[in-house]
Structure formats: C-alpha cells, structure tokens
C-alpha cells in the first residue's frame, strides 16, 4: 500500500513539474499573443482596438501585466478545477473541443491498438514456439523495416496509393460530411470507410514491434522449468503454447499495452493530420501551426495528465497481474 502511495506521489510531482514548465514556456512566446487576437476581433467585428483587447483579456483570462507569481497561482487553481483554457481559433473552451475530438481518437486508436497488439502477440507466440519457420525471418525483416520508417511516411504512402490515386478510400474526415450523425447503417458505413486507412496505417506500423516483444518474452519463458514439466506431463503442444508459455510471456507486454492505451488519449498526431481525422492529435497539430496558445496548452496538459496517470496505473496493474509479484511486495 505504501508503495502505491509513493508511486502516486512521484506521479503527482511529475505532473506539477510539467504544468510549471508549460506555464513558463507559453509565457515565453515572443510578442504579445493577445495583440494578434485582438486585431482579429477588430477586423471581424469592427470593434475598436482597446475594447477588443479588453475582451480578449477577459476571454483568455490573461493579463500580460499581471505579476508572474499571481498568474501562476491562478493557472494552477484553474487546472485543479479542470479548466483547460480556451481556444483562440475556435473561440470555445478546450474542454468542449476535447469532448468533440476525443471520441474519434478513442475510436480510431483503440481499434488499432487492439488489432496490432492481438495480431502481434499471436505472431510473436508462434515465432517463439516453432523455432524454424518462414514466419520468423519475414516478421523480423518486417519489424526492421517498420522500425526504420517513421509512421508519417507509412501513412503518407497509404494515403497516396489508396486515397489520392486509387480512390478506394476517402482523403479526409471521420465521416462523409454530407451525412448527419446517427445510428443508421449509412452513417456507420461511412465512419468505417473513413477509418479504414488510418487504422491500417497504425496497425501496419506497430504490429511488428508487438510481435518482436512477445517473441522475446516467450523465448525466455520457454527456458523455464515448468514448460518442460508440462511436456513431461503429456499436455498437448498447443495447450502448452497458449496457456503455459503464452499466459506467462504476455505479462510484461500488458504494461506496455496499458501505457499505450493511456497515451492513446493524446491522439496520433501524424496519422490524424495526414488523414485529416478530427481527433485530439489533429486539433493539437492545428493549434500549433495556427499559434492557438490556449488550445495548445490545454490539449498538451490533458495529454500529459493522462500519460502520467496511465503510467501509474500500468505500474500498479502489473504488480496485481503477476501473482508472484503480489507476494514479494
């Protein structure tokens, strides 16, 4: 129990460090960001500059003349309450943007993660069990290749071949913009159609890594006494592969899976950008290219919180999953 408290403490401190760094970082932006948005208001609403500036100051709760210490305290207080700031481009709160974007990200990435993890683990298990098959060199080579290729290149290639040129799949969006969201088959079909390429890109890129990790873990499990003992007991080969080797080999990977699931909430920046998929990653990329400091800060902090938290959970989860560690603690 004490260990959990300690780990949670470290997580919290890490979070504090990140929040502080973000705060100071964004205050360092050259020039006065409010100026830009105030001018924007002047042009679009025909206001005079001073009232525009006032309004912008109110909207973003940001006064460049306020003493830094005070700003920091208000910032932390706001974060505690869950206020992640306001988007300067979209003019709505970051939280609302998250509500709109998160479901798409979760949809896309959870399917991708589960497929690549499942497929990869299976491949790795078979690779370790049957030592000399054609599967091994093929998957190893495939792993080297996908390891060398950044995920944006894979996504780009898929986009170019299948969307831009062959036109099998759409180029952008989460669904056909002509349709209204609803629980009808046309809508669902459109969603699946639009998600197909991004999911393929992700799965293509990450499956090999899971396979190699599983293979490594399984090979070391194979050296354990209980595998030979299981054979001595006359158990069927397939049963040993899955329930004796597999179940033990997958334990270290579960930690990785938990972390990946957590990090997933930060969105897949590249895949979403290339396919113009309106998830968290896409919005974050937009925020950075368009200098939307409010949104940038809000989304980044959300990602950081979620990642730190999921690391903590994965850590604790692993010790629960492996019956051996439970006792040792």
């Amino acid at each position: 129990m004490l260990i959990i408290v300690r780990k949670a403490g470290i997580a919290f401190l890490t979070l504090l460090i990140v929040m502080t760094l973000t705060f100071f970082l964004l205050r360092k932006v050259p020039g006065d960001p409010l100026y830009m948005w105030a001018m924007d208001l002047v042009h679009t609403h025909g206001m005079d500059f001073d009232s525009a500036y006032e309004q912008v100051k109110q909207m973003y709760d940001y006064d460049p003349h306020e003493p830094l210490g005070q700003q920091y305290i208000r910032y932390i207080k706001g974060l505690m309450k869950g206020d992640l700031g306001t988007s300067m481009v979209y003019k709505i709160s970051t939280n609302r943007i998250i509500t709109k974007a998160l479901p798409w990200t979760v949809f896309l990435l959870s399917i991708s993660l589960l497929i690549s993890f499942g497929l990869g683990s299976l491949m790795g298990m078979v690779m370790a069990w049957k030592r000399k098959t054609a599967l091994d060199p093929i998957v190893t080579a495939y792993a080297a290749f996908t390891g060398a290729t950044p995920d944006y290149i894979t996504a780009l290639i898929l986009l170019i071949i299948f969307a831009a040129n062959l036109r099998f799949f759409p180029m952008k969006g989460a669904y056909d913009s002509a349709l209204t969201p609803g629980f009808n088959w046309t809508f669902i079909k459109s969603v699946l159609h639009h998600a197909a390429l991004p999911i393929t890109a992700y799965v293509f890129e990450s499956t090999a890594a899971w396979a190699m990790a599983m293979k490594g873990s399984a090979v070391s499990v194979l050296g354990e006494d209980y595998i030979m003992a299981a054979r001595a007991r006359g158990l069927k080969e397939r049963r040993i592969m899955i329930f004796y080797m597999g179940r033990n080999a997958i334990l270290p990977l579960i930690t990785g899976l938990a972390i990946a699931l957590g990090t997933m909430l930060g969105g897949a920046t590249f895949i979403e950008t290339i396919f113009s998929y309106p998830g968290i990653g896409w919005f974050f990329a937009q925020a950075t290219t368009r200098m939307d400091l409010g949104l940038m800060q809000g989304l980044f902090l959300m990602t950081a919180v979620v990642t730190i938290f999921s690391n903590l959970v994965a850590d604790i989860l692993y010790s629960r999953l492996d019956p051996r560690i439970k006792v040792e603690e």
Partner: protein, 293 residues
Amino acid sequence: MSVTAIPGRLYRSIYEPFVIIRRNKRAFIGLIILVIFALMATVGPEVVPLDTTQNFAKRFQWPSLEHPLGTDHVGRDTFQQIVHGSRDVLLTAFLAAIFTTGVAILIGMLAGLQGGMVDTLLMLMTNAILTVPSFPVMMIISVVFKVRDPVSLGLLLSIWTWGGLARAIRSQILSLREREFIEAARALGLSTFHVVFRELLPNVMPYVAINFFTLMRGAITASVGLMFLGLIPFKATNWGMMLNLAAWQTGAIYVPKALFYFGSPMACIILFQLGAFFFASGLDEVVNPRLRT
C-alpha cells in the same frame, strides 16, 4: 603487414571492430549506407550543383539521364535537392545526438556520483522527461522559439530526449562506483576529475556509442516530422520540407508522375534509418562479445 604487427591498442579499437562488422553482413551493409550518406552530406553539395531555376514545362518528370530522380513541382532536379538537403538533415541529427549525449552524461554522472538530494531531484526531472511524450513538447517549443538553423534545431531535438540515456548512465555509474578500481584510484589520491574521465567514462562509452546512432535516428524522425507538419520552415531542399511541400502544397500526391519527387526523400529517410539500425546492432556485437556468432 601481418595482424600481429599492429600495436595492441590500435588493434583493439579500430581493426578488430572493423573485422567484426565486416563479418556481420547486416552491419556491414549498414556501414556502407552510412558512409554513402556521410559522403553525400559532406562532399555532395560541393560536387553537385543546385539549379533553382523554375521551369513549369518540366514539372514532375520521371527519372532520366539528365534528372536521375526526376523533377519537382516547378521543374527543378530532385536529385540535386536531395543531395543538398542531406547536409542539413544529417548535421541536425548529428548535433542533436551530441547535445543529447552531453546532457545525459552530465546529468547521469552527477546523479550517480553525488547521490542524495541532487540525485533525487535529477531523477524526478528525468522521470518527467521520460513519462511525457517528447514529440508534443517539441511541437510546442518549435512554436515558442524561432528555430531556423541546424544548431538550434539540434538543441530543440535534444531537450526532451536525454532521459533514457541519463538513467542508463546513472545506473552504470552506481554499479561502477562500488567497484574496487574506483576505491583504489581514490585511495591513490587521484582527483575526482581523473576518476571521472579516465576510469568511469571509458566504461560507459561503448553503450553511449551504440545509443548515438539510435539518437540520430530519432532526431531525423522528429525533425522531419516537425517540418512535415509545417512547424519549422527550413530550406526547401531539406528532406522534411520536401515531404511537406509534396503532401500539402504542391498537389504532388495526386500526380502519379510525382512518385520520385515525394518518394526520394522517403526512401532516403528509410535507408538512413535502416543503415543506422544495422550498423548499431553490429556495434553491439563489438561491445558484447557474447553476441558474436
């Protein structure tokens, strides 16, 4: 000249590793690839001219004798751009790896040698660096600070990436610290400086060397990624910028003929990554005799 004629130290540090790499096919191919790129980056821009005249009639041509990799959206030769871009790309990666390694060694050693409060604080920082994903951080920093040249880009790329190496160095230092030769050195009255640079550092170096290539690979992926998103405007010859232009601005992705224009930077990136990966695993064999077949 027979092998035995080569003096001992030289043999160990240069000849023997070379033989091991030579025997390992993958590592040797990796070495060749890296050498080619190194030549391209250093000598290339001097040897290959860069013709920036625009000629719309020649846009998106297939490779020919005149244009080995075809032309881009305004008729300029792709091959020339690749060669000229390689210098910036590789220089940036190299600098990023150096900066990262420097910071990691500093922090790792400080934490390992000092211990106590210093160690705890440094490890807390390292933990933060490791937990929070580095690319979003780099995106934010590229927005906040003006990054226009390889040096500042190299710095940016190393801010959030030293965590893993620092931790590894620290644990190496911790285990080495207790070993007898350190106590002996101390007992002999050798200064801390000596202990650090003549005893500890050489033990850590092999690991650092292998990691260097991994860092370079990461730096290339990250820098190209940042350019691709349009966050760091660099010269158009830079591979990342070529991808950016191809994907977003020139409609190259819709034109099958433009295959070589956007394909070349991709191929170069993939090739370099593979080369560095293979070579690094060869280096691993040099350092870990147990891995040798």
